[in-house]
Amino acid sequence: MGTLATGTVVRTLSLALACLALLGQTVVSQAQGSLPQIKQRGVLIFATDPTYPPFEYMDKDKMIGFDVDIGNEIAKDLGLKSKWIGLEWAGVLGSLESGKCDLAMAGVTITEERKKHGYVFSRPYMLSGQEIVRRKGDNRINGPNDLIDKIVSVQQETTGQYAVQKLGVPKDRLLRFDQVQDGLMNVRNGKSDATVGDLPTIKAILQKGYPELEMVGEPFVKESLGLVAWKDNPELIGLINRSLSQMIVDGRYATAYKKWFGDPLTTAIVAELEARKNQGSPVKEIPIETFKAIKAAPQMGGSAFTFRWDLVREALPQLLKGALLTLELTALSLLIGIPSGLIVALLRISPIRILKWIATFYVEIVRGTPLLMQIYVIYFVLPVVGIELSSMVSGVLALSLNAAAYIAEIFRAGIESIDSGQMEAARSLGMTYPQSMQNVILPQTLRRVLPPLTNEAVALLKDSSLVSVVALAELMRVGKEIAINGGSPTTVYVTVAVFYLAMTLPLTWLVRRLEEQWQPISKPRDGARRFGWVKA
């Protein structure tokens, strides 16, 4: 039996690896490419994260903002159409390398670190800086040095996070979120003392809501924002620098600036932008006329994707840590979710109507709303009514409550599938309802629900990735973080996928063994009788 099951695992794994290998060979650049290719396509593709006012955000179903206006002007200068792809911030830079876009324009700060990873920056098109936000009147925080012994929220893998880390705030007091707003909400709810983010964005968001928050003085780190391309396309940045310079001179830049930041463009700002010109990557400017003269290239396959083992090796310890947290979350949630699910199931089939209604209501609410929303409610909304829970507790609570609803339905179906003669036989022997349930119905149910329960456990393991929104660095989140900086997101995500398989496959294998163990019949007479359910 052991060899058979192991054989299955090995077969499954090798199939999975074969698929991955195939993926590796066929993933080719779709968008990114040399200038002739862009020319041939006729469209300049931008990636951004449209949750970042006033740079880019959604107005109903339309993406608008300062970046969008400037980017569209650049495309116009090059005689191209523009197309904007909205991604999570964590995937924006990675999408350059994977060839999903030509340029990233998302209020990206120019840093030497990012240049080293292979990103090419345009000249600065906007001055920015890291600004501290506190609750109104919180006098403990008056400057960056006051943050060192406080709890600080940041948007993950932003220069804001880097700046706070540089101040010396230890990791356990640094809460990292996917969005700027998450950090602000967290400060308002008192879960952290301050948040740090890009000045223009913080300013724009604070004006729209959050009367409970205020900014602390001037930015404590000065930064410049640039457009980003991948390293194999420096010529594109050369063209963009030319276009930006032209825009600043002919007033189009000033118009956009006034429109989105409210203040007029001063000569001081223009002088500063000019002074910082060299912060961008050193690329040769290309006259736009030259680009327009370039012949469109015939469509080609583009560059092939390479799997980087060095990156895997480097990322392994972090991924292991993330996987451990994923396992921990899953195990705890199952530990709470299975008994709770059983209780809910028993209530749902209970003859007492009010209990039945409560259980049904619970199941319907949980099943009918997204898990992500439930996590948000538990972590961000409960504090408003005075219930404060840590990230870990919130995550486990949300996952267990969610799993309990699904597990309850599994148990209910299992119990109802047991022949009614079983309960009658037990009751006819003078056993009470609880005794009959415990000794006759549930033992049979448990054997029957094992396969769907395994399904639920595997689903839960994967769903646990959603709790990353409350700053829990589980496997998927760690993968995202590494993917941003590592240079090869595909390598990272393939590795993460293998990690997930390494957890789910043994689980399903283990349950299959358990099923065989539990099977009460040693010499089955026929298929149906094997499990002892069929009586005659």
Partner: protein, 247 residues
């Protein structure tokens, strides 16, 4: 209630509705201690429902059932069930438990009997139904006849005063009927009070003290087996017997 002193079970004016469908239309039946009553009648005539009303697997709509002079109510039903064993048409053995555990479960859970004692008693009962050798088999490993004998041992496990049999041989292959009837015959000889819903006319004739014929929820005819089965007064009884015996 003015019943005879020897009456163990007394059913008075029992009615049962399923929705608007009246399945039992006023049953009166007294069963004396040690008496074996065979209940015959077409399927759908109410035999099963009558038996299930006695131990309240079905709640009677109207009428009273008294056991040893006490009316059976929802509050004393568990106590009454200990004293009235029931055997089902489809055995209803617990498939996850071995034969001996099937028999020992109720004494352990209901009476709190020590598990060693419960198993010893269970073994004795299995030997009584001639299945000592199969004590450690699961129900799925047993033939239908063997399963029904285990079910009888299980129903005897609480030392009941009376036994209800709901067509105990109807789900069996013909060649397995004999072994079950033999166990029931032994049980009757030992003085057990029994109500048996059955289509086995030979068994009724040989073992029963009294035969009652149920037709559309009423007792149409009752009396000693030789009279009801041999010289029925009612036309309906004759028709039924002709149908059954010609099978």
């Amino acid at each position: 209630m003015g019943e005879g002193v020897s009456s163990l079970l007394a059913i008075k004016d029992l009615h049962k509705y399923f929705g608007r469908n009246e399945v039992l239309k006023g049953i009166d039946l007294d069963v004396a201690e040690g008496e074996v009553v065979a209940m015959i009648g077409a399927s759908g005539s109410g035999k099963s429902t009558l038996l299930r009303c006695v131990n309240r697997l079905e709640t009677p709509t109207n009428g009273t059932i008294t056991f040893r002079g006490e009316p059976i109510t929802p509050t004393n039903v568990n106590a009454v069930r200990r004293e009235i064993g029931m055997v089902f048409q489809r055995f209803n053995l617990f498939p996850h438990l071995k034969a001996i555990e099937n028999v020992a479960l109720a004494p352990r859970k209901v009476l709190g009997t020590d598990s060693v004692v419960a198993r010893r008693d269970a073994m004795a009962l299995l030997e009584q139904v001639k299945l000592g050798a199969k004590a450690y088999s699961f129900p799925g490993e047993l033939s239908g006849g063997q399963q029904q004998r285990v079910a009888i041992a299980r129903a005897l496990s609480l030392k009941p005063k009376a036994m209800l049999f709901d067509e105990p041989t109807s789900a069996l292959d013909p060649e397995l009927v004999g072994e079950v009837l033999e166990v029931m015959r032994d049980l009757a000889k030992s003085g057990m009070t029994m109500i048996v819903a059955t289509h086995e006319m030979g068994f009724a004739r040989e073992v029963a003290h009294r035969v009652i014929f149920l037709d559309s929820g009423r007792i149409l005819e009752e009396g000693p087996p030789e009279q009801v089965l041999g010289a029925p007064k009612e036309e309906r009884t004759r028709e039924f017997l002709a149908r059954v015996l010609n099978h």
